[in-house]
């Protein structure tokens, strides 16, 4: 029984680490902030879920297990919302830069002393 639980933990935690590694790879290698955020939040949420799932059989009590699940839920909530906020900030910055570029293309004389 304990062997089975250990095997379960090993498999799921290893899979979780794999997802984390993939997310990190995406963060480092993907072009553009938006795709990086995308890779990071999606892969890390699954990775954290798998690690929590894998650790559940090792929990000393039901309360400990519930705490781990709560941590996963909170991390999911926070990373999802923060990713949206960051993405909106990136979009706003891009729009601002575009407007500035358009302004620079036809510079009014008085703005350049």
């Amino acid at each position: 029984m304990s062997l089975l639980a250990s095997a379960f933990t090993l498999v799921f935690v290893a899979a979780g680490i794999g997802f984390f590694a993939a997310g990190t790879l995406g963060l480092v290698r993907l072009p553009g902030t938006l795709s990086r955020i995308h890779a990071l939040t999606k892969a890390d949420n699954v990775g954290l879920a798998l690690i929590v799932l894998g650790l559940l059989p090792q929990a000393a009590s039901v309360l400990d297990a519930a705490k781990m699940v709560a941590i996963w839920l909170l991390a999911q909530l926070a990373s999802g919302a923060v990713a949206q906020v960051m993405a909106e900030a990136v979009m706003a910055e891009a729009t601002l830069a575009e407007a500035k570029d358009a302004g620079d293309a036809a510079p009014p004389e008085e703005s350049r002393p």
Partner: protein, 310 residues
Amino acid sequence: MSLLFDAVLCLLLLAGALGVVATGAARAAVIAFIGYGLLLGLAWVRLAAVDVALTEIAIGSGISGVVLLRCVRALPATPKAPAPNPLLRPLAAMVSIAIAVALGAAVLALPEPAPSRAADVATALPATDLGNPVTGVLLVFRALDTLLEKVVLLLSLVGVWALSRDPACRGRPDPLSLEPAPAPSAFLARVLAPVGVLVGLYLLWAGADHPGGAFQSGAVLAAMGLLLVMGDQIRIPATQNRGLRLMLLAGPFGFLAVGFAGWATAGVFLGYPPGAEKAVIIAVEVAITLSIAVTLGLIVLGPPAGEERS
């Protein structure tokens, strides 16, 4: 295996510290500093100092990180680069290296085993009815340090408020953002804040027997207040509000009052009444937590902008 982990952690810490210093841009340096604080928290966990780890992550990384990020945003985008003084740089490098070498030598010269009063704390702790020796040290054995720390925290807020244009420090601090909060921020504030407040109160309550306590709890509560402000769920409080100012004073002056009462009840400054130690300690912790939460939040929000004209 754990040696390998510790070695990797040490290397990461060094790399993180180097990253903070070597990054040219101010904002990137602050973000690196926040990441470095998280790694440092992990190192404290490895040293079995969970209380310190919580404080490092909440204050050293979280609250300080937000303050620094706000500073970066307030700076002009393209600062006038002062002409680098050819003499000053090598001098600064030499002073830094000398301090590092002296610190390293001091650490290496520490006697083995290090002098410790942990055994004294362990024997005296049962008298306080507390289970967490860190809380025992902070609120009983070294209560004077904690009291002074609270006064310093209050003084740092006074320092921030001294930057106000209003001589009486009235009004509300400037809003964090001129635009309305993005919908995800509002959602996060509504959903996370109740959970976060619960976690903060739990940290306070658990601090008597487990890692946690006033500072960690206050930091979490301050963070939740800031989250609500960033999500446009509550207005930034006006600083002339009497209740707010009383909350700022509750911790340091409540602690001081208990300290003076110690002369009457226990015969010594900062003594606790015999028999009711734990109840008084928890009351002090609640007052301190309230003050820490409000002070930290207001430090992040910055100086008040003066009374509104209506």
